[in-house]
């Protein structure tokens, strides 16, 4: 039987791997340098997809209704920060 959850996970993994591949190829073909727009684009794709694995609010209530910090949101924040920095980098290159 078709499972939609499985399809979404598979698509996410494919996008993640495409992002990683773009980063890898960009580094192989043009090294790590500030003019490498493919590197920036690959990192954006990878970071945004990776962030979806850690979607969580910074705090949430536990079973006893106490507020608890969600460590998962730290990883979400890091990936979104990397994506934002790379977006700014790409914008600087294109303006």
């Amino acid at each position: 039987m078709h499972n939609p959850g499985y399809s979404i996970r598979a698509v996410k993994l494919v996008i993640l791997l495409v992002g990683a591949l773009v980063v890898l190829l960009a580094v192989i073909l043009d090294n790590v340098n500030e003019r490498n727009d493919w590197l920036a684009a690959g990192l954006i794709l990878f970071s945004l997809t990776a962030s979806t694995y850690f979607l969580a609010w910074p705090v949430s209530r536990d079973d006893q209704r106490n507020w608890r910090f969600n460590t998962k949101s730290v990883w979400l924040f890091i990936y979104l920060m990397v994506a934002a920095v790379c977006a700014m980098w790409l914008w600087l290159l294109k303006t």
Partner: protein
Amino acid sequence: MSGFNKVLIEKILKGIAVGMALLMVTILVLYLNRSDPFGTIPGKRLRGEEVTEPIDDWSFAQQYRRVNVEVRPADPYSVNAGYFVHERELYISSSKSRWAQFMLQEPNIRIRIGDKLYRVRATRMEGAALEQAQKAYSEKNPRRTPEQIAERWFFRINSR
């Protein structure tokens, strides 16, 4: 779950995130402590030995790939700039960028060629002087179309 393991992927992604976070912190520290421009990222006050004698012949600049321009003396802002030398005069050209607008507001700037700093004044070319500068620029940059050249600003650089 067949095919892939979500827990394993998250573990790998956490490892990558730690590396990226360390890299971002390093970049942030370097950015905040920057002095010279780096690629398209503007810098602050340029470092180098300042030359006080006036320069009449800028031909020596042609041996360098780029010049650094420091504008807005009150809060120095430096960039890598395109330049060319025509009949011993030094010219800087720019799209209507932020730093070029700063240069229009305050034409007294500093430029660095090689490791030497020069106190100069930038004069925006207009009329016949502009046409002459555009012609010299197009000879040195044959790939640029006339439309692209027409959109650029040209400044002649003189010692002050």
